[in-house]
């Protein structure tokens, strides 16, 4: 194990690190928005959209991200849609994460007791007001644990981006190993790189989970 080799590789890893963070952030944000919209379509049983969402969720959850990425990166140009690897990666993450987030939100919405909905109706709230003041705040709080687990999962999934040559953390490590064969050093940096992102994040998410749960339900 050579400290010097590690030090020399750090600037490259730094770039990969930032790229992983950036793509994760965009992908997760997109997945949360997509997932929320999908779960609302399902919660309100909106005709047609509900079926489309159902099919999307099945497709997204039952195919590997690797295949989804290949399809977006190599398949879409076939119908005239040529996107950069970076864009493909983010789209892939949103496509995969959207269904996981949708199921996370749905779990939360379904966890709201029916009596809450009825007491909202009993004071004359409209469907929209019911969603805004009763269903969403409570459902969101209930879904946080699932959403947090999905966030961590999606960040780990970005390592697959290496197959379409996006120079994120894993790709950087594999490239360096291929060039200089210092496998131990580069893998160590790689592991530390992910740990720096994931460990503090999961601590923050757990804390947030408790805060929001307490703020909403008081336990």
């Amino acid at each position: 194990m050579s400290w010097q080799i590690i030090q020399q590789s750090l600037p490259m890893f730094q770039k990969g690190f930032i790229l992983t963070l950036q793509m994760s952030a965009l992908g997760i944000l997109g997945a949360i928005i997509l997932g929320l919209m999908c779960s609302l379509c399902q919660y309100f049983k909106i005709p047609v959209l509900k079926q489309i969402v159902g099919a999307y969720i099945e497709l997204s959850r039952n195919t590997p991200l690797l295949i989804q990425l290949f399809f977006i990166y190599y398949g879409l140009p076939g119908i005239g849609l040529k996107l950069s690897a970076y864009t493909c990666g983010i789209i892939g993450l949103i496509f995969l994460g959207g269904s996981y987030m949708a199921e996370g939100f749905s779990g939360g919405f379904d966890g709201i007791p029916n009596s809450q909905i009825e007491s909202g109706k009993a004071i004359g709230l409209s469907q929209g007001q019911l969603t805004r003041y009763v269903v969403f705040p409570q459902g969101f709080a209930l879904s946080i644990p699932a959403l947090a687990a999905n966030i961590i999962f999606l960040i780990k999934e970005t390592s697959i981006f290496t197959v379409i040559a996006i120079p994120e953390l894993t790709n950087t490590a594999l490239d360096l190993i291929g060039l200089y064969y210092h496998t131990n050093e580069y893998l160590l940096v790689l592991v530390v790189g992910y740990a720096i992102i994931l460990i503090p994040l999961s601590i923050i998410l757990t804390w947030l989970e408790r805060r929001i749960r307490y703020g909403t339900f008081g336990d």
Partner: protein, 244 residues
């Protein structure tokens, strides 16, 4: 006496199972109608039909002389005039007491926040909970929660109140306070339909008793007579089973 609510030939079934059969009755303004009957006789289902929480297969409800067209939109508008309090209080855990009470007045009736809060405070004062505005439901006892739930319904100034066994989940020492509030409402001539298992209370406030058995109204008898001289054997048995 003006008629506030009239139900004609209401029928309701869950799937194939009839739960309410040919229910007809009238409630006049200022009157307290107490609904009694054994468990499973359809009391909750009946009052849930009266504010549209439960759809019914046939029959007609007239509210303030107008036939109710039972669409979701119509029920939503009507519910501002029909307050309902449930057995399990069902306050919104994510909102503090003030927001629980003013949500309807502000969002549904478009009252100003100041007006709604002033009225909420006035009502809270009448139930002895004026100091609780900033608290959350989880910080309150069952009896306090139920009093807040009553205030939440009253804040919309309904013409009519529905109570479904509102003291059934409360510890005995909490029951009295809630019943007193309802008795006060009756004294102020609030029109109400009350489902309860508190027989002394029922006798005290009932202008009329509907006795339900197996989805039918077996008798509709003035309150002063029902408890001393019920017309049917089923009602007699029921009163006995309640140690009355």
């Amino acid at each position: 006496m003006t008629e506030l609510l009239r139900v004609e030939h209401l029928n309701k079934a869950y799937g194939e199972v009839p739960v309410l059969q040919d229910i007809s009755f009238t409630v006049n303004t200022g009157e307290v109608q107490v609904v009694l009957g054994p468990s499973g006789s359809g009391k909750s289902t009946l009052i849930r039909c009266l504010n549209g929480l439960e759809p019914y297969q046939s029959g007609t409800i007239y509210f303030q002389g107008q036939k109710v067209d039972p669409t979701p939109k119509n029920w939503q508008l009507l519910r501002q005039k029909i307050g309902m309090v449930f057995q399990s209080y069902d306050l919104f855990p994510n909102l503090n007491i003030m927001d629980n009470i003013t949500l309807g007045p502000i969002k549904v009736q478009k009252q100003s926040k100041a007006t709604a809060q002033k009225e909420a405070l006035r009502l809270l004062d009448t139930v002895g909970l004026a100091d609780y505005t900033a608290k959350f439901p989880r910080e309150l006892s069952g009896g306090q929660k139920q009093r807040i739930a009553i205030v939440r319904a009253l804040a919309l100034h309904p013409d009519f109140m529905l109570f479904d066994e509102v003291t059934a989940s409360l510890d005995p020492e909490m029951v009295r306070g809630v019943l007193e509030i309802m008795a006060n409402l009756a004294k102020q001539k609030m029109t109400m339909i009350v489902v309860t298992h508190e027989m002394n209370f029922a006798q005290q406030i009932a202008d009329n008793v509907l006795f339900l058995d197996d989805g039918h109204i077996l008798e509709s008898t003035p309150g002063k007579d029902f408890f001393t001289n019920p017309q049917t054997d089923r009602a007699k048995e029921f009163l006995q089973s309640m140690d009355f």
